[in-house]
Amino acid sequence: MTISRRTTALAVLAVTSVLSVAACGGGGGTTGGSGNGSTGSAAAGSKGGTVFWLTKRPAEHLDPQRTYIGRDLSIENRLFYRDLVSFPVGKQGEEATKPVADLATDTGQSSEGGKVWKFTLRDGVKWQDGKDITCEDLKYGFSRGFATDVITGGPNYQLGYLDVPNKDGLPTYNGPYKKAAQADFDKAVTCEGKTITYHFNKPWADFPLAIASLRSFSPYRADQDKGDKSNYAVFSSGPYMLQGTWQKGKGGTFVRNTNYDPKTDQTGRKALPDKVVITEGLTNEIINQRLIADSGEDKFAVTDRAIPGSMYSQVDSNPTVKDRSTLVNSPFTDYLLPNFNSDVMKNPKVRQALAMATDKTAYITALGGDKAATPSKSIVNPELPGYQPNPAFTAPDSGDTAAAKKLLEEAGVPLPVKIKYTYSGGTPTSDNSAAALKQGWDKAGFSTTLDPLTDTYYDVIQNPNTKSDVYWGGWGADWPSAATVTAPLFDSVLNGVGTNPKSNGQDYGNYASDTVNKLFNQARNAATTDEANSLYQQADVQLGKDTAYIPLSVTKFYYLHGSGVTGYAQSAASNGYPDLGSIGAKQ
Amino acid sequence: MSTWASADPVSSGALLAVRDLKVTFPTEDGLVKAVDGLTFDLRAGETLGIVGESGSGKSVTSQAIMGLHRGSRAKVEGQIVFDGRDLLKIVDDDLRRMRGRDIAMIFQDPLSALHPYYTVGNQIVEAYRIHNDVSKAAARAHVIDMLDRVGIPNPQKRIDQYPHEFSGGMRQRAMIAMALVNSPRLIIADEPTTALDVTVQAQILNLLVDLQKEFGSSIIIITHDLGVVAELADNIMVMYGGKAVEGSSADEIFYEAEHPYTWGLLQSMPRIDAVKQARLQPIAGNPPSLINPPSGCAFHPRCAFRDDERLGCSSVVPRFEISDEHPTRCLIPQAERRAIFQTQIETRTA
């Protein structure tokens, strides 16, 4: 996933990593330590009251098949879109990212080495109008993702996995509206009573993780579907339903869904407040000032907007406010990509020297210090299952200038080595952090030119012919697995590196390695997640050896919540955002 | 006229007696002495012409008489005795009541002196009603009558027109109607024809002469044009650098001019009636600074007849003897001045 700092509407999804929540604002600087996911106010709450969610970025979609933002995926799952399996409420660490049965009776049965998956619906699960949720609803929801001209913006994994014929890179089946090649789809997804069976064209070992993380596989009622016009419609299967309509830029109010039966729900959704009000379009400063002031309704407010650096002192100087702050690792990592199409970066010693000279500490200081980010040792987020520090990156966090110099001398290139660093710029933070990197590199014998780009950033770095030596990158996994990190970023076959003259897909550094590609293929075909994880680890080691990337940092979430909030938790199960499954309002 | 001005302004019998009038303005560069010790008398029914170039203080004088400097940063000293009352001593509101009623003013540029957004009639009616408690209809009838008397054709229609719909001459007629609407005893006309074409100027000057006969008002006419005062004025005062340099009857000024500056003016003017167009004789140099005026005689740096050794032109300040019939602010003895005028100054008169 891309690009935590991208300012455009390109859908960004963060899913999961095992996040630890450092309680009571403590634990700053710990690199993903484990901890208690709830704060001091997390004493078991009582029912009633209203919880307010204050945020800035408007929801682009409330249509489950189109949602691709970590925050919205989590809110939808906790409030109104149940899935076959979901992440459990109230768990931390590894437990939080183990899917549990939700609409389904279990977490699914796979066969044929992970190519076929079967789920059976529970009894008594109902839509908000009281009708039963059926297998046909599941199948219809899944089918919508194939109407890629109508249901835009979603993750689209179904296109690559479902065992249906393809033509020109897309399945011939084009969704439930035009129904071309409907028979193929009906063969690939079948209903037998309450049991749904998915037939994939390759093993999908972590399919339940994908279901729990995304909403692509949520059920959808065909009679409620108006295509694009349903983008902001909510037809609930969960504990809450939308009151009135969703107002873009303003938000909406969710009230209890009387047809939701908590007895059918084993995920631990507490559904404490009577109402959940989501307000979007507020600025970061306003949100956090309101949370500091903690008055009126804001006592029951939570947010997904980090405290701005300018307000750190206000939080730190006031113990009652600091008590209401949390600092956790986010699913996002920052890293650098040497451009393998650049002559100077083709020299492995130069790449190693660059890695050795990279001053992560200065970079993080420029981002805002230890409350904004923490140094990383791999492109894989430390909270992901199968994470291991990449052994290739031996430099200390602040870089090793002497070692880097030595490597550059060994490289046999004239000094200083002129390089161009292209990054997504235009904000003081991004420009300062780039300058911090330049300083470290230049000390070691590089001569760096900074090349800030704004909204055209990805269009430029996707071009294999762009003349630059180092790129900045940012990523968050779609579901808690390395499968959604290294493979999409470095599989040269998948990304068309060397075959597509116009685009390198997401392999922005134009890295191509047969060894790595082979390991990715093996991992994809692995029947179990453990096996897959081990293969992804081997691939990461190879990436480190080749210096295909240089890890920089893991972004942190530094949030406030109101004093009247109970059961406050941020965990990997909610993508690091406040978990509405457990949050309530103190009565 | 026997003396230029009497010693006692109150008992002088003059309608307006100005004594040692000084107007100063503080500026960033220093104190501007715009008018520096001016004295004159104006009797009822007479016309005084004040002649001078830009910066000589003639317009400042007229505004000082009207009390228009009140409320500004200008400082006015001396005495302005109108009909026995010193206008510098009476309260604002009393002076305001006299403005427009007893003393009226005609300005140089009638287009800018009339408010562009109100009809001519509105503005004249306003001038009338502020001093006369009459109905709007009565005021309007009176104003139509006034417009007719100043020679504006079709006044019933013109009264409702805006200033921009009038020609330059008609506008000045309207200004005159506004000035005369309360039959004032004194009219101050500040360059009333400078902005007008020569044929229109002739009409306006004629009108002023006729109206003065009719209303019996006294007139102060301020101008740079010697031709205009030659036509209108009984007495003339020539100003230079904020001071009167010469004052007397019109005849004296034109035919017995005594001040070298007056000579300079007469000689530098091209004359329409001069058969022989001799080379003009300009006054050398530029007008004096009002902040740091020249020492001695203010005119001495430009004077062709200065004689520092004998007369001390650059150190001795010449006096303006108001008890004289023809006071002249010049250090050259009077007999000599007369001789110079007779022998050396060509008046260019045919």
């Binding site: 859908a11 890629t148 295509g227 694009d228 600025t283 306003i286 002031a293 | 006299m98 300005f107």
Partner: protein, 338 residues
């Protein structure tokens, strides 16, 4: 005069067409690919192409513009896909004439987006307008009357200070201090009259309109002061004094009439510009007016919404210009249009 207005409206309509066309051309000249924004990170080139086609961005720009014009006069349907209309008519969005387009990013017709946002901006602009006209003009007159004195310096000085702050800063400060820290007012939220009645509507407008007004008050104090002083120096004011008018009458009738004329002009244009949205104030206070909609549309490459707002904004400004010119002729008898 009537002929003049008709001619101006005609020219204005041509300007609107030109502006919408220019917006189209600029949009397509921009380096970013609007189709790229329609799918997530797993977007394959095939998918992008498909979406480009679905959005109609594959057609030449003039064809697209032609469709836009057609929509304005006869209406359109979105997506323009006969096959889809046949198989799933419920997914087709109707956009009756005058149709300004359909925003795929907002899943709504542009007309409906504007209809939702416009009352917010208009409420805000009018409230701010009244505030700043009353406070700005009276402040300016007082400053002019006491020129050089303490009260003048205080007014002009504080106007200058306020003027030098960015709107963003003023808005945020008011919001944080007045509403959050001191809690003198509730958190400002826009409530339409139909939702909450006049009271909550005004209550919600207070801080944002004050923010907007503060910027303009500062300007209007300086402007009014300058115009009043200029007018007080006019020859006709000297004439009025020479007539023996009282100070009050001179100020009330002669000075103000002349000073207010240019202010009316400037105010009309300012209001016209503001009706189309106050971008920063709306953003700070989370008012979903035209300004915020415009920013959102521009940053997300939402062409139909961008064009729609350009047209609405231009209509407001052109209308304001015509109204101001007509008003001018009413105020100033020297102005005649033919």
């Amino acid at each position: 005069m009537f002929a003049y207005v008709v001619r101006r409206i005609f020219v204005g309509a041509i300007m609107l067409v030109v502006m919408s066309l220019v917006t189209y051309l600029l949009f397509f000249a921009a380096p970013s690919d609007p189709a790229r924004f329609t799918c997530g990170k797993n977007c394959s080139p095939e998918l992008i192409e498909q979406n480009r086609k679905a959005l109609g961005y594959d057609k030449p720009v003039f064809v697209q513009y032609g469709q836009f014009l057609k929509g304005v006069f006869v209406g359109r349907e979105f997506p323009d896909d006969p096959e889809l209309k046949k198989s799933a008519p419920e997914t087709i969005a109707e956009c009756p004439a005058p149709c300004l387009g359909y925003s795929p990013l907002q899943s709504d017709t542009v007309s409906s987006l504007i209809a939702t946002a416009a009352p917010v901006s208009i409420s805000l602009a009018l409230a701010a307008f009244i505030l700043w006209m009353v406070l700005g003009i009276s402040g300016g007159v007082i400053a002019a009357l006491y020129k050089g004195r303490l009260i003048d310096r205080a007014l002009v000085g504080s106007a200058l200070i306020v003027y030098s702050f960015p709107t963003f800063f003023i808005g945020l400060s008011l919001y944080i201090f007045v509403a959050i820290k001191w809690q003198l007012t509730p958190i400002p939220v826009y409530t339409s009259i139909s939702d909450g009645g006049i009271g909550p509507w005004l209550y919600g407008l207070f801080l944002p309109s004050l923010t907007l007004a503060l910027i303009y008050i500062a300007g209007y104090i300086r402007l009014t002061r300058a115009f009043v002083l200029e007018s007080m120096g006019e020859d006709y004011i000297r004439t009025a004094r020479a007539k023996g008018l009282t100070q009050r009458r001179i100020l009330g009738k002669h000075t103000m009439r002349a000073a207010l004329t240019p202010i009316a002009t400037v105010a009309g244009l300012d209001l016209g510009g503001l009706l189309a949205g106050a971008i920063i104030t709306e953003t700070v206070f989370n008012y979903n007016g035209l300004g915020k909609l415009a920013v959102q549309a521009a940053t997300t490459y939402d062409l139909p919404t961008t064009v729609g707002i350009v047209i609405v904004a231009a209509t407001f400004i052109i209308t304001a210009n015509i109204v101001v010119d007509v008003l001018y002729a009413v105020i100033d008898p020297r102005v005649k249009y033919s």
